[in-house]
């Protein structure tokens, strides 16, 4: 079982403000049943823009329930404008911290709050459509703004962290380029472009050879066990473009395999700055 703080446990065992609010002034939802957690936040807002009451409903684990409960406590009695400045980090801090793998629970709380505020401010149909265009991760419906804010608030540097916090990029992986662009924009100085960071600079040909060897020895046999395979398409600097074949190409957890297994292997055996991207065959 996860190592939760006493405050997380307490909020899970005795969640505040659970329930329905049929006459809510604002409703926001985040997450999805298929992903294992979903939250609905309902707000009562008076004429002065003060949040006078909040209720939530959550499907999810202990920290998902605790994050929602904490959020309601944090926003009741606050002006909407002030509530809007609350970040996921604030929710996690309020609970005395969350395990790293559970940070997305605090992000879900924040997303529900944001959705509720948008709902209250009456985002029009055109604006909603505009917002939809901004979606970066189609699998989990995560927008560019969301990724940018979470990455900034939590000082995230890697796509993997973004996935931990927002689930963005955890599905088909098509959006990894765009997530990387957002991360690059936020922290351009972190780009491993400076040659000083790499003690031995490999040529592209050397890199490709090493990558192929690593695929052959470490990765391909494992994929083949599941009826899949991997093919190296291109290497540009630290960007390794691959294509998954066979069972892997249609597997929902292939991006998980790429990021959690294949990328660390490449970093271990080839170069610590490599990152992997998938193109569909």
């Amino acid at each position: 079982m996860w190592d939760y703080t006493d405050k997380v446990k307490e909020h899970f065992m005795n969640p505040r403000n659970v329930g329905d609010m049929p006459d809510a002034d604002a409703v926001g939802e985040a997450g999805s049943l298929a992903c294992g957690d979903q939250m609905k936040l309902m707000l009562k807002i008076d004429a002065k823009g003060m949040i006078t009451d909040a209720k939530f409903q959550t499907f999810g684990c202990g920290s998902a329930v605790a994050s929602a409960s904490a959020l309601t406590e944090m926003i009741i009695g606050k002006p909407l404008d002030e509530a809007a400045t609350i970040t996921n980090r604030d929710i996690a801090d309020f609970l005395g911290g969350l395990p790293a793998e559970k940070m997305h629970c605090s992000v879900m709380g924040h997303e529900a709050l944001e959705a509720a505020i948008q709902n209250y401010r009456g985002v029009s149909a055109e604006e909603a459509a505009e917002g939809k265009k901004q979606i970066v991760c189609e699998c989990f419906g995560v927008t560019a703004d969301e990724i940018e804010r979470v990455a900034r608030d939590n000082a995230l540097r890697k796509i993997e962290d973004v996935t931990n916090y927002t689930k963005a990029g955890g599905g088909c992986r098509q959006c990894h380029d765009r997530i990387q662009e957002i991360l690059d924009r936020l922290a351009p100085s972190d780009e491993p472009a400076a040659p000083t960071s790499a003690p031995v600079k490999l040529t592209n040909i050397q890199k490709m050879k090493l990558i192929e060897q690593t695929f052959e020895k470490e990765i391909r046999p494992m994929l083949k066990a599941d009826g899949g395979d991997i093919e190296l398409i291109d290497v540009e600097g630290d960007r390794v473009v691959v294509s998954l074949r066979g069972m892997c190409s249609s597997c929902a957890s292939s991006s998980f395999t790429l990021k959690k297994y294949i990328e660390p292997k490449l970093r271990e055996f080839v170069s610590p700055d490599l990152y992997i991207e998938e193109v569909k065959p």
Partner: protein
């Protein structure tokens, strides 16, 4: 009043039986000799190991010379698979299923990296393998088929007898991970010609840190741990005497109790399952309910999440386990339930209750009442399925 405690996670581990604990005690401060020694200190200890070997063999319908003591079920699986492959290096194809325990699954993955072609048999919605699929993938290049006797998460029993026969028809060896089956259902290796079979002490009321591996006489098998001549040279290392004696006693108790396991424990499991299915808002069983271990039930509660369920059960003193992503230690839910095609909406809310001969009717009734309360409570928090709640709870 102290809180009621109900342990319903016996597929994870079991309580060491008091009789077993008692049988082990002399082997720490009194009978501490090395069984390999020539003197009386060692010689008298060796007799107890021989006896334990006979007790284990009796549970399995084996000869005592076919039993090797190991440190755990995982070691037994590793030693069996590697030992048999090392002895048949010309064959490079191996077969297993998608729902094996990591102790087998990981070894097969490793072998897949290292020159072996691996076939993984799929399972249907009931968790059953298709013997026709096995027939199709078997060939004279197949070195080994490794299938579990019963699944740890669902309790579903595989047709190991037929699978073994099919493996033998092409000259392949057959290994069976019987860690969950041993002590719960009858195993008769005199009747079923399985070549290698793994058991684990702590799943049948012996302590942790002791396992057994059956290697049929005449099976090509290369030792995996090398060193002294213990275990007939098939597993070097000074014997874990006290635990070996404990495993022997546990196997003896299991043999005596196998009837009760399939009557009394089965009745309790059915009472638990029936009570939950009948009274829960939305519950369904995962896996074949016909060919199943008598002590196990895996139930999915719709619209509520496994980790939340376990925390609330634990608060009420009940120990169970779940296949939800949040309890797996990774971000991925149970590979067994996913291989069965159980929808995500139900995988996340799956709970496994596994009983033992120490479970009572009061325990089961307490689990039912508590679980129903937990379901209701989490459904009240959940945004889903609110129209299915009884009137007044909405």
């Amino acid at each position: 009043m102290s809180m009621r405690e109900v342990y319903a996670d016996n597929n994870a581990t079991t309580m060491t039986a008091p009789e077993v604990f008692e049988s082990m005690q002399p082997f720490f401060c009194d009978l501490y000799g090395n069984p390999s020694s020539m003197h009386q200190f060692g010689g008298q200890v060796k007799k107890h190991i021989d006896r334990a070997r006979e007790q284990v063999a009796a549970l399995l319908g084996a000869h005592s010379a076919e039993i090797i003591f190991t440190s755990c079920g995982t070691e037994s699986d590793n030693a069996a698979i590697r030992g048999v492959l090392a002895a048949t290096p010309e064959r490079k194809h191996i077969i297993t299923s998608r729902v094996e325990h990591p102790a087998v699954k990981s070894v097969f993955q490793y072998l897949g990296h290292n020159g072996y072609r691996v076939s993984e048999l799929s399972v249907d919605r009931q968790g059953k393998i298709d013997l026709d699929e096995l027939r199709e993938v078997l060939s004279d290049a197949t070195a080994l088929v490794s299938l579990m006797w019963a699944n740890n998460e669902t309790g579903v029993i595989f047709p190991v007898e037929q699978a073994c026969e099919m493996a033998h028809a092409v000259g392949a060896a057959f290994h069976c991970d019987a860690v969950q089956a041993a002590g719960k259902i009858p195993i008769d290796l005199e009747r079923i010609p399985i070549d290698l079979l793994s058991i684990s002490g702590h799943k049948l009321h012996a302590p942790k840190g002791i396992g057994g591996l059956y290697v049929r006489k005449g099976t090509h098998f290369t030792a995996y741990l090398m060193g002294g001549h213990q275990e007939g040279g098939r597993r070097a290392g000074t014997e874990n005497v006290a635990s070996i004696v404990g495993l022997g006693r546990a196997c003896e108790l299991a043999r005596e109790g196998i009837e009760a396991e399939n009557t009394a424990v089965r009745q309790l499991r059915d009472r638990l399952e029936g009570g939950l299915l009948e009274r829960a808002i939305d519950a369904s069983v995962n896996g074949d309910t016909v060919n199943r271990l008598p002590n196990t039930t895996n139930i999915s509660f719709k619209y509520i999440e496994g980790e939340s369920i376990l925390i609330l059960l634990s608060e009420a003193g009940i120990a169970a386990s779940s296949g939800s992503a949040c309890t797996s230690g990774s971000l991925e839910p149970s590979h067994v339930l996913r291989a069965m095609g159980v929808p995500f909406t139900r995988v996340h809310g799956s709970v496994r209750f596994s009983l033992s001969r120490y479970t009572t009717e009061q325990d089961v009734d307490y689990i039912i009442e508590t679980m129903l309360r937990v379901e209701r409570r989490l459904r009240e928090i959940s945004p889903f399925g609110r129209d299915e709640l009884p009137p007044g709870d909405r």
